[in-house]
């Protein structure tokens, strides 16, 4: 221990909540469960907030009389705390060490802050659920692993959190495990994530064999010392890590689990599958950015995967009718944006978008939860409509969320998306193409979000028999706070945010900027950034107008278009048949092999055969030995006496002399 911050408390508080609610939850009264469940993330959040404030407090305002250096200042960041040895072998040393730097500070604030809000919301949302305590124990478990993931100072400890959040995600997706679709969705998420984890593991093995360490700072130092590290093995490592990140962050081709993950309770979708866990991949790329910086090829792959995912998921979202599925595909698309930003080495822009996305996507999901709650479990957009009168608060916050994700000035999404698009535009190799893809995705995003907005809240109610009711304050409160964050979250601006993050993830934005373009006949030069911003806002407005045309002014048009373009429409409604293709080329052959080879040959043939053989031997031996157990007490006594006689014989007869002599006699008799 070399610090006074006690970083271990941040993950351990939710873990304590998990243990209390997980073990005793069923027997405790509900208010204790609620208190425990809320105190754990609140405590963590306050600790993180304290650390953040501490970091920003100038030296002269501190009262510090303790020994050692001043705890946590911007100058002492990254702040490392080590709690002991984990692995200590000749080639590999891994510690239980937590690192608090700008990156993990930002992530922790988002995770514990948004996490706490969603815990409050869940109190209202889950209040009538049988598994109330179980739900909160899983949610706390998730926060524990997520904070471990973010604080981890080396890849192995990060992997612990990485797997742990996967576990929590699995448990929460399959929360309604009586429903087959929910249980299947949980398994799907777990299995698809295994593929990504395989990449992460291989990446770690390669790190150990090439760098001899898993500690992020040491890897960065070693890479910095030797300029020879470029491409080659670094590319392979980066691509392996990228595979892991793509699994966790639902990128092509491993995104298929996220839409199905919507089977879980809606607050879970908001916390795990929108705001925090799925951004772990982006965080991991940012954390290991030195590796990517040394491999332009890997960076290019990240950018292309991100851009492809962004537009791919956005097109699917255009035609989905389940309110949560629209948001799920939108999440995949926005994660694609973050990867795109990482791919052009604009990590601070990626993290910026991660933060604002956490605000507005959590908001949108929670608002969707409020709608579903109010509609009595209805998730189909076609059966909603006219909800703005019935659910005024939900309507207001959803509007904020939609404006934010569409990227309308001055909402949070505008600033972060603009930062990403700007950074992508500046990339030399194929920045312009990626930029166009990003811009098109922005158009689609705006369109499908306004579509959701029109279908759910505008027009007349399409199921008049349902009488929606506004949610309780425990649900509206977090919505309002998140709405405020979705408005103001971006005002800090990428310059300031990027400068803050620069020590952790590099300073892309310190160098960039200052591009000005002289347009003819205009008396002043316009900065490139400004022009791109205007373009982005115009595109967002255009998306909104299109949605207005389609879903308010001419409601017959979507059906017309669907009829006019049957192939494309079918392709989109069926999500490009990706699940079916995977089913045909991966799942079916695997099932076939399992059925015929593993089940019939290995299981029934070899394992079953051995088991039957052993059982047969035992039965046969038993049938013979059974005769001894006659039940006749005198025969037992006779055996006892005979046994005693034999023992006596062994003791009394001098075998050492008698035995060789008799053997010699026998031998003689045999020979003659």
């Amino acid at each position: 221990m070399n610090g006074y911050l006690h970083l271990w408390l941040i993950p351990l508080l939710p873990f304590a909540g998990f243990l209390i609610n997980g073990i005793l939850g069923r027997r405790l009264p509900k208010w204790i469960v609620t208190t425990v469940a809320l105190m754990a993330p609140l405590g963590s959040f306050l600790l993180v907030l304290l650390n953040a404030l501490l970091a920003f407090t100038p030296k002269e305002f501190r009262y510090w009389n303790g020994p050692g250096p001043l705890p946590l200042m911007l100058s002492t960041i990254p702040w490392v705390e080590t709690f002991g040895n984990w692995i200590n072998t000749g080639i590999l040393h891994v510690n239980f060490s937590f690192v608090l730097d700008q990156l993990s500070l930002v992530m922790l604030l988002v995770i514990t802050g948004v996490g706490f809000l969603i815990h409050i919301y869940s109190v209202g949302y889950m209040s009538n659920d049988e598994g109330y305590a179980r739900y909160f124990s899983y949610l706390n478990l998730f926060l524990f692993f997520m904070t471990v993931l973010v604080l981890a100072g080396n890849a192995l400890l990060m992997f612990v959190g990485w797997e742990g959040v996967g576990l929590a995600s699995y448990l929460l997706i399959g929360f309604y495990f009586e429903k087959k679709s929910a249980a299947d969705a949980g398994k799907k998420a777990f299995i698809v994530n295994r593929i990504g984890d395989f990449g992460f593991l291989i990446g770690m093995f390669l790190l150990v064999s090439n760098f001899g360490t898993l500690t992020f700072s040491e890897i960065a130092t070693k890479l910095g010392q030797d300029p020879g590290w470029n491409g080659g093995v670094v590319t392979v490592i980066a691509l392996c890590l990228m595979l892991g990140a793509a699994g966790k962050s639902a990128q092509l081709p491993l995104y298929i689990w996220l839409p199905d993950a919507m089977e879980g309770p809606t607050p879970v979708s908001a916390l795990i599958h929108a705001a925090t866990m799925v951004t772990a991949g982006v965080y991991m790329v940012a954390r290991t950015h030195v590796l990517f910086d040394h491999s332009p090829f890997a960076l290019g792959v990240v950018a292309i995967v991100g851009a492809a995912t962004a537009i791919f998921a956005a097109t699917i979202a255009l035609v989905q009718n389940d309110i949560k599925r629209v948001l799920a595909y939108s999440t995949i698309s926005q994660l694609g944006y973050m990867f795109l930003a990482c791919g052009v080495a604009a990590y601070s822009a990626a993290i910026f978008h991660l933060v604002t996305h956490a605000f507005f996507k959590a908001l949108l999901f929670l608002a969707a939860g409020s709608v579903i709650h109010g509609m009595g479990g209805e998730q189909d957009l076609r059966k909603m409509g006219g909800l703005w009168k019935k659910l005024p608060v939900t309507f207001a916050v959803t509007t904020v969320g939609v404006l934010a994700i569409a990227g309308i000035y001055p909402f949070a999404g505008f600033f972060s998306k603009d930062a990403i698009l700007y950074a992508v535009f500046l990339q030399e190799t194929n920045g312009k193409i990626l930029y166009s893809v990003g811009l098109l995705t922005a158009l689609l995003t705006s369109f499908y979000m306004f579509r959701l907005w029109y279908l759910a809240f505008m027009g007349e109610s399409r199921s008049p028999e349902v009488h929606p009711h506004e949610s309780p304050w425990s649900m509206r409160g977090p919505l309002v706070i998140l709405a405020l964050l979705s408005i103001c979250g971006g005002w800090i601006g990428i310059e300031c945010f990027g400068a803050f993050l620069a020590p952790s993830v590099g300073s892309r934005f310190a160098e960039a900027g200052g591009w000005h373009i002289q347009i003819p006949y205009l008396p002043f030069a316009i900065s490139l950034e400004f022009m791109l911003s205007v373009a982005a806002v115009l595109v967002a407005l255009e998306g909104g107008l299109l949605a207005d045309k389609f879903y308010r002014r001419k409601p017959s048009r979507p059906a017309q278009w669907a009829a006019a373009l049957p192939t494309s429409y079918k392709l989109l409604v069926n999500k490009y048949f990706v699940d079916e293709v995977y089913g045909a080329i991966v799942v079916k052959p695997l099932l076939g092999i399992s059925k015929f080879f593993l089940e019939w040959v290995v299981d029934v043939g070899i394992l079953g055969g051995v088991a039957w053989l052993l059982a047969g031997i035992a039965t046969f031996a038993g049938a013979i030995l059974q005769r001894w157990q006659s039940g006749n007490i005198r025969s037992y006594a006779a055996w006892l006496a005979a046994g005693a006689a034999v023992v006596l014989m062994f003791i009394l007869i001098p075998w050492t002399t008698f035995w060789p002599a008799s053997m010699a006699l026998i031998w003689k008799a045999v020979r003659h």
Binding site: G631, N632, A637
Partner: protein
Amino acid sequence: MSPFFSQEVPLSWYLLLSAALFSLGVAGFLIKRNLITVFMSIELMLNGVNLSFVTFAHQWHAVKGQIFVFFVMMVAAAEAAVGLAIIIAVFRARATLAVDRIDLMKL
């Protein structure tokens, strides 16, 4: 003391007597059908063992053997009390003392 009496009985005689008593006990235990006789055979075995204990105690001037004998007799007395009580209970319940017919526990 006449020379006849001054001569000690050899050790092996006692041991042979002890072994004979024990073997008779074993044989009685195995052969007899009456529960009381079986019980008496057990007492016979115990006393055969007691005899060899006393013999060796006398031979080697060690008091431990005598003490063992006391223990054995004590346990035998207790066992006789319990055993006879059981026998009476069995007789009351089954109206027989034939060992082979008291086989309720047999499969």
